[in-house]
């Protein structure tokens, strides 16, 4: 993985004036994060957090009220940067009177891809997203899942270095979600950088090297996914059998609780005491069957972080 920064968001703000009284809504309130080449970067937040507004500013569909976006060191509106970005909008809609091959042909022309290369690329992309069997249907006859997969194909038509996906997993059935996740992992294997938004925490945790978490337009966390999850580690669960009676007093001094299940003991302790307890068990010839750190789910960490944002912000 390279450390080359390819997307930088600095002090990004967006204010809308809505309604008859021009009420001010601060959709994005000063975001700062950066994405390095080769990463899968998750953009996490509940519905209405400002994820799509931020992504639209990255795609130059919306202009920031303040702050800046740099893509490949350039403004997002330049053709040079757009050539290197593939974008799947949230709930994608396409010209539904066209067949997928016709629309990819059109988008390929916009990318300036030569005709022979274009045909080959369209064939490969439809194969990659599993739509070869439906290439002769108009997009009007596509299901939601098929449209989502086609959306990914059109995002990849220009062979982009950075793929930006807005809620790519929403509305998909379990098989569709798995296929989409496999494709996203495959993109990373091809050396592409993927930036994708989701409000589904499990997807982010599984796929992403780094995350930025926002709520009400504010950044709550930006950094490695692992660090974010470690913050939520509560305790360690040790399962042991054949524990000699004589060491129980010593164990109780370090453990939060000890429960017996037949010949087994389940010992709960904090992370700092775990090593000492394991040492005691091993030295007493007890059988240590498992040592499992019990974490809060990402969802629990998210809720806690959203409730106490100041304590968690990291860059």
């Amino acid at each position: 993985m390279s450390d080359q920064t390819i997307l930088t968001v600095a002090g990004l703000k967006k204010t809308f004036k809505v309604g008859f009284q021009r009420k001010v809504v601060n959709a994005v309130q000063g975001l700062d994060f950066s994405v390095n080449a080769g990463e899968i970067y998750g953009f996490l937040g509940p519905n209405g957090a400002g994820k799509t507004t931020t992504i639209k500013m990255v795609m130059d569909l919306i202009r920031p009220s303040a702050g800046s976006v740099k893509v490949f060191g350039d403004s997002p509106g330049t053709l040079a940067s757009r050539r290197r970005i593939g974008y799947l909008p949230e709930h994608p809609y396409f010209y539904d009177y066209l067949k997928p091959t016709e629309l990819l042909e059109f988008f390929g022309r916009l990318h300036g891809i030569k005709k022979i290369t274009r045909r080959k690329r369209i064939h490969e992309l439809l194969e990659q997203v599993g739509l070869t069997h439906a290439k002769d249907r108009t997009l009007r006859r596509y299901s939601k899942g098929m449209l989502q997969r086609f959306g990914l194909a059109q995002a990849l038509i220009g062979d982009p270095d950075l793929v930006i996906l807005d809620e790519p997993l929403s509305g998909l059935d379990p098989i569709g979600r798995k296929e989409m996740k496999d494709i996203v992992s495959g993109l990373k294997a091809e050396g592409k950088t993927v930036f994708f938004s989701s409000h589904i925490l499990a997807d982010i945790e599984l796929l992403c090297d780094k995350i930025a978490m926002i709520d009400e337009g504010r950044l709550l966390y930006a950094g490695p996914t692992r660090d974010f999850v470690v913050k939520g580690q509560l305790e360690v669960e040790i399962i042991a059998s054949n524990v000699p009676e004589g060491i129980f007093t010593a164990l109780e001094a370090h453990a939060d609780s000890i429960n017996s299940f037949g010949s087994r003991q389940k010992i709960l302790c904090n992370r700092d005491s775990a090593q000492q307890l394991v040492k005691l068990l091993v030295e007493s010839s007890a059988m240590v069957e498992s040592v499992v750190p019990r974490s809060e789910t990402l969802e629990e960490v998210f809720v806690r972080t959203a409730q106490h944002p100041q304590a968690e912000v990291s860059k």
């Binding site: 809308f16 507004t53 639209k56 795609m59 130059d60 569909l61 919306i62 202009r63 053709l79 040079a80 757009r82 050539r83 970005i85 974008y87 909008p89 709930h91 994608p92 809609y93 396409f94 010209y95 009177y97 066209l98 016709e102 059109f106 988008f107 022309r109 916009l110 990318h111 300036g112 959306g151 059109q154 220009g158």
Partner: protein
């Protein structure tokens, strides 16, 4: 990277594919064709020496009328539909300039109008041949001038649709078309010794503004010359087309500037 004719033509081709599926286009084309052929029957109802005029008048009127309706309805919907159907979100992030989108849309609608003019004028020529009217160059000049007028009307429609709703855009565009057809009349009124601007002098600045800013669309109507067999030179046709081009450039630049500044929320 600067303006690319390939990207503009790709957008124009897509616009053409979209528009020929538009029911309004198909309906208006069909209606105009029926009316042009119906002029054969209508011409039976007048005295013999007027038959030729009825056919010529009907043909030019319906080519122009259908064209204006198509230019307005398709023109005001093209940008609006992109937003309503959210297709703009997958199109604009592609490596294109926003102004190329506007120009491509405009070229696409003009191709549609060109095809319409080709089909309807073909039908008109057939009707005239059936009535024994020999084809003359002035017929082609009349159709070319109608296309010049439609070029302006569709540019106005695109301009309004870049920032307004289809209903308002349609009303504004039709308003400019109607006023544009009256520019010469308004100019005559401004210089007259009696009439509207003499009895209501407070309206005179409005009349002057309309006469000096609005395109004079009556330049593109040579129906009377066709009916009276008055010669219209190619110099006049090219002059009118240059006049149309100047307005089109101004309207499309204005549409592109507005579109460039828009947020696509």
């Amino acid at each position: 990277m600067s303006f690319s004719i390939n990207r503009v033509m790709a957008i124009a081709t897509n616009t053409f594919k979209e528009s020929i599926r538009n029911r309004v286009f198909i309906g208006l084309m069909f209606g105009a064709l029926v009316m042009i052929f119906a002029s054969l029957i209508m011409s039976e109802m007048v005295v013999f020496d007027q038959r030729k005029r009825v056919i010529q008048d009907f043909g030019l009127f319906f080519i122009s009328f259908a064209g204006v309706l198509i230019a307005i309805t398709i023109g005001v919907l093209l940008v609006y539909n992109e937003l309503k159907r959210k297709t703009i979100y997958s199109l604009l992030p592609k490596p294109i300039h926003r102004y190329e989108f506007i120009v491509g849309r405009y070229v696409g609608i003009f191709i549609i109008l060109f095809v319409m003019a080709l089909i309807l004028s073909g039908a008109w020529f057939v009707v005239m041949l059936l009535r024994g009217v020999p084809l003359q160059p002035i017929f082609i000049k009349a159709v070319i001038l109608i296309l010049g007028e439609l070029a302006i009307v569709s540019a106005v429609a695109i301009l309004f649709s870049s920032f307004s709703s289809p209903v308002l855009s349609g009303i504004f565009t039709f308003g400019i078309y109607v006023l544009g057809r009256q520019v010469q009349f308004i100019e005559e009124l401004l210089h007259a010794q009696k009439g509207l601007f003499v009895s209501l002098p407070s309206l005179k600045p409005i009349g002057q503004a309309v006469a000096s800013v609005f395109p004079d669309l009556s330049l593109f109507d040579i129906t009377m010359e066709v009916l009276l067999e008055v010669h219209v030179g190619w110099g006049y046709v090219f002059g009118a087309l240059a006049y149309a081009l100047a307005y089109v450039v101004v309207f499309i630049i204005a549409a592109a500037v507005i579109f460039q500044r828009r947020d696509f929320v």
